[in-house]
Each structure stands twice: as structure tokens, then as C-alpha cells.
């Protein structure tokens, strides 16, 4: 339970390395946008407003992963100026798609480099926000679900704990009556190890889940990989599927590495 914020809370949105999709989810709440805007003071949302009010902020929504030296400092300022830091999306939570760089052999990577190095500065790895500062809540997804985003903001404003499921995607398929693509069609699916939240989107479109909500709690990735092998997936395919939007999330990282050197 979080303590309630008494006055109209000041909301800020911060972007690190990202596609802006998670903060865009806020604008995609077309029916609720103006009521959210009325319930909070939007103090920093540069993609929408020229007004940039100084901190401290009550709620900071943080999108994106840490990939530059400047970001290392900026994220500290965000923490310092914010009562609650809520990360939104896979980039902020696990390092996101940018963490694909984390698996590249640096020598292999530098072979395809031809930028003039003095102009550009970037870090070797893409890391989640929680590697650098204390985070009060993490919302999963690539992108986040807009319903979950509204739920988190409402919960923080009213001082309750957000109600966000932590079960696997399989439960969402069962709840929606979606036929299991893996048992019915032999289509490899990450559902059993992936956190719920999207509403079992991919299986409902006849394709396997590719894990954009990241690992569920206690994900048995080894058992799933074994099942995938039985369905005919190659070791390379298993490596690649765990190297998507949540490649750096610990269970996915471990599983992809376990299949890499066979």
C-alpha cells in the first residue's frame, strides 16, 4: 500500500532509449486522456507540451533503457526529484530491444562500425532503470497495456497497490477460450513462461507468443525449451526467441545463453 498523495499530484514522463511507444500509450487512452490530465498536474511531458515545470514530482513515469553516459547522470536526477518512480515498458524494466547489443561480441560488433567515433557516445550495454536507481513499481510490456497504465496511475493517486496480474499468458488464453497454439497446432509459443497482460494477443491471431511482456515469476524456461525442441525448433531458433524485447531479463538471458554454445 502506497501512502496517498494529498494535493493534485505532479506527473512527469521521462524518456531514455526507446521508441516512445509506452508514453504514446498514454495518449492512446483517447477516452480517458482528458480526465487523467484533469486528475494530475502534467509537469513534464515534452513530447506533448512546451511547459516543463521544475521538480520535485510526485510520480515519474520512466520509459526507455540506459544506454548513454549522459543517461547515467540524468536517471539519478529523476530519482532525486521524484517521490515515486514507475518504469513503463520492457526497455525500462529489462533493457528492452536495445539489450540485443549486450550479447554481441564487441569485436564482431566493431567490425560493422563505421561512424566517426568522436561524434557519438554510447554505452556497451543497455540496462534497466532498476540497475541504477530504486524503482517503486515496474509495468511490463512492449508496449505497456494502456489499461494497466491507467490502473497504475489511478492506484498511485488514490494510494492503493496497483492490481496487475503476475500469472502466465496461458491463463489468459484459457480465460479467453483461445485454443492452445502449441498443443493444437504444434506452433512454438513463449506463453507458458511469459507474463500475462496483453490478453493473449498472439495466440488469438494463430501465432505463438514472442514474449513482449517478459518472464513471469518462476518461469520454467528450460522445460519450455525442451518442449520446443520436441516440436522441431533448432537451438539457434531457441536462442533467437529468447532474444527479443526482453533479452536481458534474467530468465530469458540465462535460457538463450544455455543454448548458444551447443
Amino acid at each position: 500500500m502506497l501512502p496517498q498523495i494529498k494535493r493534485k499530484p505532479k506527473l512527469a514522463v521521462w524518456k531514455f532509449a526507446s521508441c516512445s511507444g509506452c508514453q504514446l500509450s498514454l495518449l492512446d487512452c483517447e477516452d480517458d486522456l482528458l480526465s487523467v490530465a484533469g486528475a494530475v498536474e502534467i509537469a513534464n511531458l515534452p513530447e506533448v507540451s512546451r511547459t516543463m515545470a521544475k521538480g520535485p514530482y510526485d510520480i515519474s513515469l520512466v520509459e526507455g533503457s540506459i544506454t548513454t553516459p549522459a543517461a547515467l547522470e540524468h536517471v539519478q536526477e529523476v530519482r532525486h526529484n521524484s517521490k515515486y518512480v514507475v518504469t513503463i515498458g520492457a526497455c525500462a524494466m529489462s533493457g528492452g530491444i536495445q539489450a540485443l547489443r549486450n550479447f554481441k561480441d564487441v569485436r564482431e560488433f566493431t567490425r560493422i562500425v563505421y561512424a566517426q567515433p568522436e561524434y557519438i557516445s554510447t554505452l556497451e550495454k543497455s540496462t534497466p532503470i532498476s540497475d541504477h536507481i530504486k524503482v517503486d513499481y515496474e509495468l511490463a510490456g512492449c508496449p505497456v497495456s494502456k489499461e494497466q497504465l491507467i490502473e497504475v496511475i489511478s492506484a498511485l493517486i488514490t494510494g492503493r497497490t496497483p492490481e496487475i496480474p503476475t500469472s502466465s499468458l496461458c491463463l489468459e488464453c484459457k480465460r479467453r477460450g483461445v485454443v492452445c497454439v502449441m498443443s493444437a497446432h504444434g506452433t512454438p509459443c513463449l506463453g507458458p513462461v511469459t507474463r500475462a497482460g496483453c490478453g493473449a494477443l498472439c495466440p488469438s491471431y494463430n501465432r505463438g507468443c514472442y514474449g513482449c511482456y517478459g518472464p513471469k515469476e518462476r518461469a520454467n524456461t528450460a522445460s519450455l525449451s525442451k518442449h520446443w525442441s520436441q516440436l522441431g525448433a533448432t537451438e539457434e531458433q531457441i536462442v533467437r526467441v529468447f532474444r527479443g524485447c526482453n533479452a536481458n531479463a534474467a530468465p530469458f538471458k540465462k535460457e538463450s545463453e544455455a543454448h548458444e554454445h551447443h
Binding site: 544506454t67 556497451e124 512492449c142
Partner: protein, 431 residues
């Protein structure tokens, strides 16, 4: 007396991504203009190497949360070009339809939430909603209709999951469109009103001479494919793109600048499409443009807000036509047989031409990828506009001139995350 002035905006707002502006004025001449993009470099082209062709639309979507469809459609078309696949007409129609949805949501976002506040003097659309609630409410509902198209065909608005090389994972039944078609009819009316509304905004007198570049496809307003043409005689196939365009690195930006090898900077996006293909707009959009006082040619980038409104109207009308003529395709997707090959595709993202090129091996793994987004193509034109605009308006108070410069940048609806996705890497180690 020599005087030096600077205009500096350290954090550009109401644009996607992170950029800054720096203008140096010496006496009455602009000495230097830099649109600095400090958005972190994101190395998608490197990430794509070694990936399977089936994974590419899911990866390239993550370049941009505003225009993922542009990245997915262009990627799957490029792969189909590589493998020699020709999709069913109805699959092509469904792709055009979902692309119309993206144009609607992206253009409405820009016209009403990002650009209009400049013309009316508000910090943002939320402040604007206090004085013009009906305009902002209506725009949110129009945006929602665009998103509904994307969601119906793609599964969700942002990073849709239904597009694949060869077609779709699942195709809709004709009846699935019934409710959407009703909403689209409403949106078409709202778009028609929006064209007149946009034309009533105050515009500075600012006409320039540009080389406009857009796609050209017989009988269609530029959208998902075509030859690459310009008003200065360029007319090439997409396969020849690399022969005519180059990308250059500039020291102050994390995005490359694309240029025409022969003539330098060029202009892509709504104004380019409008000027090169006005006659191919749907009749209702053409008529609305004329009624709003726009001719077949528009050379004032500040009026791009009207052109975007015209394109929203066109996209609504086109979407309704596609739904009306839709027949369920024989199969949702074609069988794909990879082969060692090179494939190209270009499509019209809301902000202009997006070009992809992939080299694949016999298993369908990516050997090499090149992606050129619209914003990197427009950067050098944006800087030129700023130079001329500032020189014409040196008498304005600094605060006002700064705001006008921001507005001039927003004329292009820059998408900065897109523009930095392709930079190659230099590694700075954390100690």
C-alpha cells in the same frame, strides 16, 4: 557594429524523441543552424544481422511507437521482393487499410496535439482543450478511429502482431468491419470539417523552392509502394535508391543526413505527396483542399497542417473504399521459400518515404540491413527552412522567434527516435 545573437532550444518539445536547436546569427545573417539530435543511438541494423526473416517485422516495429506499421509493411514487402513473392490483391488491400489507420492516428496526433497549439498560442493540447474542448475531444475520437483500424487488423495499436512476410497471421471476415465502417463515416465527416478548420489558422508568408520526393504508383495516391519520383526529374525504381541517395554523418547529430547525390537536400512527407500526386487524392479530399483555398501545389511548409488534414480525409475515404471492396483472401499468407537474395521496398510513412533493403542467405537469415527513415531525409531541409525563416524575421522578439523556429521544425513532424535508429556504434566503456 558587429552583433552576434543565438537562438537555442535545448529540449525540443512536441516532437517525438530528443532533439535540440541551435541558430547563430551574425549581423543580419544566419551563420549556422544545427538541428541537434541527441536521442541515444539505437543500432537496429546491427541487431537485424543473423535474425530470421520472420522475426524482422517484430523487430523493426520497435524502431517507432508512432509508425510501427510503416516499418512492418516496408520490411515484409522488402522480404517478399527478395523471395520473389507477389501477394494476393486482398492482402495488398488489407495492408493499405492498416496503413490508412496509421496515417489517421499519426496525422491526427500531429495536427491537433503537436502542431495546432503553435498556431493558436498554447503550450499544449491540454491547455488548448480548455478554450476549444470540442476540437480536442473530436480529434481524440478521430485518432481513436485510426487506432481501431490498426487494432482490428494488427491486434493492437502499438507494435501490432498480425503482419508477416507473405500476408497476415489471421485475416478478418467481411462482417468484422461493420462497426468500424460506421465510425469511419463519422471520422470522414470530422476530417472534412478539420480541413476547413486547419485552413482558418494564421500562416506566415513563407514559400520556398524545394525538390519534393514521393512514391509514384499508377492510379493511387502514394502509400505502400511505387517508383521514387521528384518534381525535378527523378524517376527511379526502388532498387536504384542507393545509386541516387547518400547518407552523411554530421558532427552535432546522432542521426545521419540523407541527400540526393546530384542535387543535395530534398523534401519528403505530406507536402511532397500532395504536390506530386494531388490529382490522385480521393475526390472528396481534392474538393476539400480546393474549398480550403489550397491549389494543386503548396510551397509553404507551415501549411502542411492543412495538407495533413486533407490526407486524414483521404485516408478515411480510402479506408472506407477498401472495406467496401474487401473479399476474404483465399489464404491469410503465402508460403515463403527463402533463397539467397537482396530485397528492397519503400513506402510512405506518415512523415514520408521509408526505405528498407535486406540481404538474406539461403535459410532466410539477414546478412545485411539498411533502413532510411523520413526524418533523416528531411533534416537538411529543416535546417535550410530555419535559416531563411530566421533571416526574414530577425525583427521578432527573441522569445517569439524561438517559438516560431520550433513551429518551423514541427512543420515536418520529425520523428527523432526513427532518425537515430540506424547509427552505427562506437563504444564507450563504463569504468
Amino acid at each position: 557594429m558587429n552583433t552576434t545573437r543565438t537562438i537555442r532550444v535545448d529540449n525540443l518539445t512536441r516532437v517525438e524523441g530528443e532533439g535540440a536547436l541551435y541558430v547563430k546569427i551574425k549581423d543580419d545573417l544566419v551563420e549556422n543552424v544545427q538541428l541537434k539530435i541527441y536521442e541515444p543511438p539505437r543500432f537496429f541494423e546491427a541487431f537485424l544481422r543473423g535474425r530470421h526473416y520472420e522475426e524482422v517485422p517484430d523487430i523493426t516495429a520497435r524502431i517507432c511507437g508512432i509508425c510501427p506499421i510503416a516499418y512492418q509493411v516496408t520490411a515484409v514487402q522488402a522480404m517478399e521482393d527478395a523471395f520473389g513473392l507477389k501477394v494476393d490483391d486482398q492482402i495488398r488491400a488489407l495492408r493499405k487499410l492498416i496503413y490508412c489507420g496509421e496515417w489517421i492516428e499519426s496525422h491526427v496526433l500531429h495536427v491537433f496535439m503537436l502542431h495546432a497549439p503553435d498556431f493558436l498560442g498554447y503550450a499544449d493540447a491540454i491547455e488548448m482543450a480548455k478554450d476549444h474542448p470540442e476540437i480536442v475531444q473530436r480529434s481524440l475520437q478521430m485518432k481513436k478511429v485510426g487506432n481501431q483500424i490498426v487494432t482490428l487488423l494488427g491486434g493492437r495499436e502499438i507494435h501490432p502482431i498480425n503482419l508477416r512476410v507473405g500476408g497476415f497471421y489471421k485475416v478478418p471476415e467481411k462482417k468484422d468491419f461493420a462497426q468500424l465502417a460506421e465510425r469511419l463515416k463519422w471520422a470522414r465527416e470530422a476530417a472534412l470539417e478539420s480541413v476547413g478548420w486547419a485552413a482558418s489558422l494564421p500562416f506566415p508568408n513563407f514559400e520556398q523552392s524545394y525538390e519534393f520526393v514521393a512514391l509514384d504508383y499508377p492510379g493511387e495516391y502514394p502509400l505502400n509502394e511505387g517508383r521514387v519520383v521528384s518534381n525535378k526529374g527523378l524517376n527511379i525504381g526502388v532498387h536504384e535508391y542507393d545509386d541516387h541517395f547518400i547518407e552523411e554523418q554530421v558532427p552535432y547529430s546522432n542521426a545521419l543526413h540523407a541527400r540526393l547525390k546530384e542535387r543535395g537536400s530534398y523534401f519528403v512527407g505530406p507536402l511532397a505527396r500532395y504536390n506530386l500526386a494531388f490529382e490522385r487524392l480521393s475526390p472528396i479530399a481534392k474538393e476539400a483542399a480546393r474549398a480550403a483555398g489550397l491549389g494543386a501545389t503548396c510551397l509553404n511548409p507551415f501549411q502542411s497542417i492543412i495538407v495533413r488534414a486533407v490526407e486524414i480525409l483521404h485516408a478515411c475515404d480510402e479506408a472506407l473504399r477498401l472495406i467496401d471492396e474487401y473479399e476474404v483472401p483465399n489464404q491469410p499468407s503465402l508460403k515463403v521459400e527463402p533463397r539467397p537474395s537482396i530485397g528492397h521496398s519503400a513506402s510512405e510513412a506518415p512523415r514520408g518515404i521509408l526505405y528498407h533493403r535486406y540481404e538474406l542467405d539461403e535459410q532466410g537469415l539477414i546478412l545485411d540491413a539498411t533502413i532510411i527513415p523520413p526524418t533523416s531525409q528531411n533534416q537538411s531541409i529543416i535546417e535550410k527552412d530555419l535559416k531563411y525563416f530566421v533571416e526574414q524575421h530577425l525583427n521578432l522578439p527573441k522569445e517569439e522567434l524561438t517559438w516560431k523556429c520550433e513551429q518551423a521544425i514541427r512543420n515536418y513532424d520529425p520523428c527523432i527516435s526513427c532518425a537515430t535508429h540506424f547509427l552505427r556504434l562506437e563504444i564507450e566503456r563504463e569504468s
